[in-house]
């Protein structure tokens, strides 16, 4: 977007869509301050999450990210399989010294997840990206 217009040079480094290297359902955007926003779509195949995980880690390392924001706004319910995927990604982020923060979790998803969750997840949670960006500045 910013590359096409070429006018908002300051923002081009802040909001920069990254390539997902052929992994469907991944939409990664660099949002500045060493943070990457991941907006998964419903086509993300978590059954074969290894490739997606590698791609996310690669993108994080490419921009020297310190935080990964995982947007859960589109998920009304988080089932155990998806929760395992989130935990796996959280662990992967920890291994490369990146904090993973899930944002926009829906009340229904939080309700369902709290019922079968036995331990605290490997990721952090926040209401939205803005708050964490303000805190981290």
């Amino acid at each position: 977007m910013t590359e096409k217009t070429g006018k908002k040079e300051g923002l081009s480094s802040v909001f920069c869509p990254l390539s997902s290297a052929g992994v469907s359902g991944l939409h990664l955007t660099s949002i500045g301050h060493g943070a990457l926003l991941l907006e998964p779509s419903l086509s993300l195949d978590i059954g074969n999450g290894g490739a997606a995980l590698e791609e996310i880690v690669r993108s994080l390392q490419r921009i020297n990210a310190t935080r990964l924001y995982y947007d859960l706004a589109e998920l009304a319910v988080i089932e155990p399989l998806y929760y395992n995927w989130l935990n796996a990604l959280g662990r992967a982020c920890r291994t490369i010294n990146v904090r993973m923060i899930c944002v926009h979790m829906q009340p229904t998803a939080a309700f369902a997840l709290s019922r079968y969750m036995e331990q605290m997840p490997t990721f952090e949670t926040a209401l939205d990206v803005e708050i964490w960006n303000k805190e981290s500045k």
Binding site: M105, P107, A110, F111, S114, L127, D128
Partner: protein, 303 residues
């Protein structure tokens, strides 16, 4: 059988047509006494409209293929009519007893009309066929009005259920007063007994409120909770987890010694939950985490 039905129904239709003035007159009079005047449940026009509509529906039922069939559309229409009328009267503060009495009166008015018609033609009573026909008429009236009484009771039960549901909803609202005490800080004082279903309701309301208000901290005060069991304590922990998953800080306050003892004996670890002694301490903690400093300002002189 159908022929028999045709005979009794045509006789009743004739009766209704010839004595419609007398019957509606007495029904309207009784209706005004029970529901009109100072009772103020129905206006004179409504009572009059009701009598006419009742007659139209009764005639439609008598003209149907089998008037004794309580599954026929005509019978169903009559039931719905009575159900609606009952709702209307009950909502306005009427009593179910008066509705039943009114039904009984209408039945009696029809039987009286039948009797007076028979006295006008005394020769009809002599035949066995006529006796059989009268029996069928009485059976029809008794069955129909019994069903209509059931429709009245059904309406009564529906009204009662609706009142109970409304009261329950109101109680739920007042039992879980979630208040935004500061921008982004919600407080939830829980009062009374916590059972599983109530905990679930509180949890649902709280999570929706967090999303709605974009709350960053929730202070749950248990000062008013006297008892807690294993299941409820697990629900409580689930609630705290769900709040944290939404991205808000969860602070639990006002844990009474009895509750603390129960949680310990149930082997429940509140290590992952921030707790404070009082609601005031909980609020201070929420403010501290949000970087808000509340201090006593200089008092301004009254003008």
């Amino acid at each position: 059988m159908v022929k028999k039905h045709t005979q009794f129904s045509s006789r009743l239709i004739d009766l209704l047509k010839t004595q419609i003035g007398n019957i509606t007159g007495s029904i309207e009079k009784e209706g005004r006494m029970l529901f009109g005047g100072s009772n103020n449940l129905m206006s004179a026009d409504e009572i009059s409209d009701f009598s006419i509509e009742f007659f139209q529906l009764l005639v439609a039922l008598l003209e149907s293929k089998d008037p004794l069939d309580d599954a026929s559309p005509q019978f169903h229409a009559l039931e719905i009519f009575f159900n609606n009328l009952s709702h209307q009267i009950l909502v306005r503060g009427g009593r179910v007893e008066d509705l039943v009495r009114f039904n009984q009166f209408m039945q009696r008015a029809l039987i009286d009309a039948l009797e007076s018609n028979r006295q006008d033609e005394p020769e009809q009573i002599t035949t066995a066929q006529d006796f059989d026909e009268l029996k069928t008429i009485l059976l029809f009236l008794s069955t129909t009005f019994n069903e209509l009484n059931l429709a009245v009771f059904q309406a009564y039960l529906e009204e009662k259920e609706s009142t109970i549901h409304a009261q329950e909803a109101e109680l739920r609202e007042t039992a879980t007063p979630i208040t935004e005490i500061w921008d982004g800080v919600l407080t939830l004082p829980i009062i009374g007994t916590l059972d599983s279903s109530r905990t679930m309701l509180i949890m649902e309301a709280l999570l929706n409120r967090i999303a709605q208000e974009r709350a960053t901290a929730v202070v749950m005060d248990l000062t008013g909770v006297k008892n807690i069991d294993s299941q409820v304590s697990h629900h409580l922990i689930q609630m705290m987890r769900a709040v944290q998953l939404m991205g808000a800080e969860a602070i639990l306050t006002g844990i009474r010694p009895e509750i603390a003892r129960a949680l310990t004996s149930l082997n429940i670890d509140l290590g992952s939950v921030t707790t404070r002694a009082t609601l005031s301490d909980g609020l201070k903690e929420a403010f501290r985490r949000m970087g808000i400093h509340v201090s006593r300002g200089q008092r301004t002189e009254d003008r």
